[in-house]
């Protein structure tokens, strides 16, 4: 049985209320943290080895250590969860908002933030209501605001709603959005908002799931967290399983202890495919990631294990495509997504995504030619030269270089399927 960290309370009735949270040990970690020195909390987080749960997988402790020591510095929680097929933060903000708030407050104290923000994507109407209610409750309880629990530490926490833009998950775009502007990613350097972030001040941006792990780490110690998982993949992770699978859902598993096969086929997890079908492809880590075939099913769900095999664990999502689903259609839809969500600042991304989408669409509907395959690869190569993994970057942010992943994967793995579309002038699959 896997230790449950972030989903320990999510099945309790009224799990989102303060009373439920307090009955189950809530805010004890914050009390403990406030009795510790901030640097000792940071040391626990470093010892935990926790990797950021947003997608890039950067060590949280290391990120914190890069924060410039200015009396005005900010903590921003990234809850813009928009990577297609990722729905773990959706669960955490609706089912256990106090855990997120407690983790945010502990982190704010540890890094000495002068103010903290939780940025939630606007489409989470219920999530926004749950988190705002929880913030209201926490203020009234004395966990946020002036002189928290008599510790002498004060801080404010503000919930910020987004308004529908995938790109705002990119941390510098999120900061721009929080400043009340278009969500345009900032030109790098500076590479990290830890130097210049919100309002030009040093800022740490951490994911919702990362923050939700912090109370457990403080209660149980960084070492206990690091004893779960293996290698650099410490602790547990919330895997969001979707697509052609019997029981899609969020599953919290010890990192690197289970394989894709376990996640998809275990009766208590994904419970396998629909009768008579087989795995054609899996997309790990969100639609920005290169695809795997069934030969990778036994790969452990670990950061480095997946990276070494040529893709990424990314946001922790896993999409299953079975042999009754069309790979061309799936790749076309992913490209359409990038085309719609490109912020438009950089030409390779803005124009390239549209060209690829058009070509993919004409192949899918039976109007493609064989030379389109080379054309697709050529356009992809212009966005991410060399088509390597991780990709080369020609744009301000990583949205652009993420576009080729699905197209190149689909062509490499399912060239025959493309050719059938072209030869038979249509999609051979029944939708």
């Amino acid at each position: 049985m896997t230790t449950k960290i972030v989903t320990a309370r999510t099945n309790l009735p009224d799990s989102y209320r303060l009373s439920t949270y307090l009955e189950n040990g809530g805010y004890q970690a914050l009390r403990k943290a406030l009795s510790m020195n901030p640097e000792d909390i940071q040391a626990e987080v470093v010892a935990s080895g926790i990797l950021g749960r947003g997608g890039a997988g950067f060590e949280t402790g290391r990120k914190w250590s890069m924060l410039k020591q200015d009396p005005v510095r900010y903590l921003v929680v990234n809850g813009d969860e928009s990577e297609p097929s990722t729905f773990k933060d959706h669960l955490l903000v609706e089912a256990d908002p106090h855990q997120l708030i407690e983790g945010t407050l502990i982190s704010a104290y540890a890094i000495g933030a002068s103010m903290a923000f939780i940025y939630l994507r606007g489409e989470f109407a219920l999530g926004l209501e749950r988190v705002q209610s929880a913030i209201n409750e926490a203020y009234a309880y004395g966990a946020i605001g002036r002189d928290i629990f008599g510790s002498g530490f004060s801080i404010d926490l503000v919930l910020q709603p987004g308004a529908g833009a995938y790109i705002c998950g990119e941390e510098t775009a999120l900061i721009e959005s929080l400043e009340g502007k278009r969500g345009y990613p900032r030109i790098k350097p500076p590479y990290f908002p830890a130097v210049i972030g919100l309002y030009g001040k040093p800022t740490i941006v951490n994911n919702v799931e990362t923050m939700s792990n912090i109370p457990w780490i403080i209660t149980n110690g960084g070492k206990a967290f690091a004893s779960l998982g293996s290698g650099r993949s410490t602790g547990t992770r919330l895997f969001a399983l979707s697509g052609d699978v019997a029981k899609p859902g969020n599953y919290e598993l010890e990192m690197a202890a289970s394989s894709f096969r376990d996640l998809i086929f275990s009766p208590e997890l994904g419970a396998g495919l629909f009768p008579g079908r087989s795995v054609k492809a899996i997309i790990p880590g969100g639609v920005s990631a290169p695809w795997f075939g069934p030969e990778h099913l036994d790969l452990p769900l670990g950061q480095d294990e997946v990276a070494k095999a040529g893709s990424m664990l990314g946001s922790g999502s896993v999409i299953v495509i079975d042999d009754h689903s069309c790979a061309v259609r799936a790749a076309w839809r992913i490209t359409k997504f990038f085309h719609r969500e490109s912020c438009g600042q950089c030409t390779p991304c803005r124009e390239g995504s549209g060209w690829i989408e058009k070509i993919m669409h004409r192949i899918e509907i039976g109007a493609g030619t064989e030379s389109d395959l080379d054309l697709l690869l050529d356009v992809c190569d212009n966005i991410a030269p060399g088509l390597s993994w991780p990709p080369q970057q020609t744009t301000i942010c990583v949205l652009g270089p993420s576009i080729p992943s699905s197209v190149v994967s689909a062509i490499k793995m399912f060239r025959d399927e493309f050719l059938i579309h072209i030869k038979e002038e249509g999609c051979p699959f029944v939708h």
């Binding site: 005005v72 219920l126 833009a165 399983l241 697509g243 052609d244 992913i334 939708h431």
Partner: protein, 212 residues
Amino acid sequence: MSFFTSENLERAQVLLGLYPEKRSALMPLCHLAQAQQGYLTKEAMEEIAKLLEIEPAEVFGTVSFYDMFHTEEVGKYLVSVCTNVACLLRGGLELLEHASDKLEVPVGGTTEDGLFTLEEVECVAHCDKAPCAQVNYRFFGPLGNDSFDQLVEDLRNDQLTDSVPPHGTLSRVFREAPSLVENEVIIAERVAMDQARQERQAAKDSNGGDSK
């Protein structure tokens, strides 16, 4: 005449006081204006500009970036069908086609009675309930043709007014917290925290030096 009602103007003042820089209130204010009127009129955006002390063009320019801000009238119920890959695999595109037939509007259109606007959206993070849709950003799924039709009937018959407020109303929970801790208090605390930390570090370094 103010665009905002007096109740919303009070909420707007709370929002303006929440941030180190006023402009951060832009998006919350736009949501507030949409909650009041269902979409963003020129008058609303001009008033928001005035409140933020920026040019109206800066508000228009920001608003136009975000999918959830509507500068043209939207139906009472905005039906957003996801067709991104996880939903696509489970029939999202077919659901969208069915929705268009059922509501008798093209994607992007509004029904003649002004009740429904249909849109195709990107992933809304509800993939374990694929194919899914949102109505005014409230989740529904998994949806088949029959359950979609039932949903539409329930909305038409005002069966879901508690769970699905009219378009524009996003969060019905407002910040109740007292006003922010004064900036000077926070800064004084942080300067003291950083100083204490440096002193601990210095003490540790000299102790470490002694023991070697």
